[in-house]
Amino acid sequence: MGYPHQPHPRETPVLSKYFGDAGAKTYEGWVQRGGYKALEKALSMDRQKIIEEVKESGLRGRGGAGFPAGLKWSFMPKEKARPHYLCCNADESEPGTFKDREIMRWTPHAMIEGCAITAHAIQAEITYIYIRGEFTEPIAIVEQALAEAYDNGVLGANAMGTGNRIDMYIHRGAGAYICGEETALMSSIEGRRGNPRIKPPFPAARGLFGMPTTINNVETLAAVPHIINEGASWYKSFCLSNPKSTGTKLLSVCGQVRKPGNYEVVMGFPLKDLLYDLCGGMREGRTLKACIPGGSSVPILNREESEACLLDYEGCVESGTMLGSGGVIVFDDSADMVYQIMRLAHFYAHESCAQCTQCREGTAWMTRILRRMLAGDGEMKDLDLLLDLSEHMTGRTICPLCDSCAAPVVSGVNKFRDEFEAYIGRSKSAAVMAV
């Protein structure tokens, strides 16, 4: 449902069905709502069959990259020679995104059940749930849910009486956006600075503690029990546009819109309908100026592009952006795009782990240029400098944080150039030239 609003008839609540329903938080309540049936079924299934089912469903990573989940699992060694690990990525920090928080707050057992099924499929005895440090409430709720799952024999050395060991622990982050990047998250669990690592080796070969590891986002894992219960073809049937994008997606809508919240729709849903119908459109007297559909790391769309965009992996690429994490940031005609783009650049500069030169220097440099422009010291050549810089910041570093900084800056300069030029036109140097 469009939590915190009443569900909209055009939503398809699968993951969000119990958002706002406090009864779903407890083990008892979850079992009453059909919980842990999928785990019971999965524990009696052949591991390979579980992986095939998830592959067949078309489920793709909901954290941002959109990598097919079943395919990722299939990279894990079939013969277990060393410990295997599962990491649940609950470091939700992508500006504009707040869906995993809602999954953990209302349906912690959905995430735990998804983790347990996945852990079984990839032969992981231990799962670490990495929750960002600021999520004090979700941490407390998941802690309580884990305790209940242990008390009821769902987890532990003899999970659901099957003799399988499925242990699950929370690892609390401590304030670092970069720890949402999969290898940085593993560094952080290992008690290191959250520095991303060069790939390959990929986590399935050498991940956490150097062992084969799978890492999935909360929303991805929470979808797994539904696929096991209802089957791959049921899940695949949720598709409005491209058959490569299946299932439902939680879209976190925020910014300058009448009804911000989490809306769950079928893949391929039009962004226009999400904004104007489900979210009630713009505030009184305002019109849409821009929208970032996939969290702040993807290119900004202008109004025309937003109104034509279909919300699935391919549809967003066709519109020149990405579905990312599904964090939909809305800007109306009152937004100062130069200032907001500076805030985004500032975010990446603040969150850079500082390993790679292009990122450490580039994100800070972009922020300085934008601040200078806002302070009235901008020059026309700064716009070219921003675009030139961004080329050197894209595809050249260990992780994509640097690219993520360039995306909103480049799209912003290209699509809202008049706003940048207006700042430069009012600048001190322009005033001198006019004299």
């Binding site: 928080r101 440090g133 600021e134 609390r172 401590a174 290992e190 008690g191 503690f209 925020c254 910014g255």
Partner: protein, 164 residues
């Protein structure tokens, strides 16, 4: 050299037992570093050089290594802060909804004056923080461990009453 005040260790008795149970979750002691640092911060309010040395000793690390990790994570305090630590999200989605006005209201009503400063009565430290992950509930504010949604400048004075 004699220390001015004796450092009192955090990891004794129950706290030590608690940490030992956490260490069991991981294949090595180093992985318990973030949990150990959180325990220190909850016990002392911040993480001093002496505390870093203690953590290093307990986990078979070096103090320099521990410091390297402490400085990476923004939530760990390397210096004492006010009794209540206020973090206000000012990243774009909240920013366009007026987050900077919320910051101004907190600075005014706490008496902190400027970001990162502690109020003269020692009760509050206010900082801007990057995305708190609750963008649909602009502006989210974290006061100690209390996560508060949809804060507006008008609500600030009333909110602070609880912490005075």
């Amino acid at each position: 050299m004699q220390q001015a005040t004796e450092y009192e260790p955090v990891f004794t008795g129950g706290q030590r037992e608690k940490l030992d149970r956490i260490i069991e979750r991981y294949p090595n002691k180093q992985a318990a570093l973030l949990p150990a640092l959180w325990m220190v911060q909850y016990a002392r309010g911040w993480i001093s050089q002496d505390a870093m040395t203690e953590v290093a000793d307990v986990l078979d690390l070096t103090a320099a290594y521990v410091e390297g990790v402490v400085t990476f994570y923004t939530m760990f305090h390397e210096h004492p802060v006010g009794r209540h630590f206020v973090q206000i999200c000012t990243t774009s989605p909240c920013n366009v909804c007026g987050a900077e006005d919320v910051v101004a209201a907190f600075l005014k009503h706490t008496g902190c004056g400027e970001l990162g400063a502690t109020s003269p009565d020692g009760k509050f430290t206010v900082i801007e923080t990057e995305c708190l992950g609750a963008c649909g509930f602009a502006t989210p504010v974290l006061i100690d461990d209390d996560f508060i949604e949809s804060v507006t400048p008008e609500k600030v004075a009333g909110l602070l009453e609880k912490y005075r």
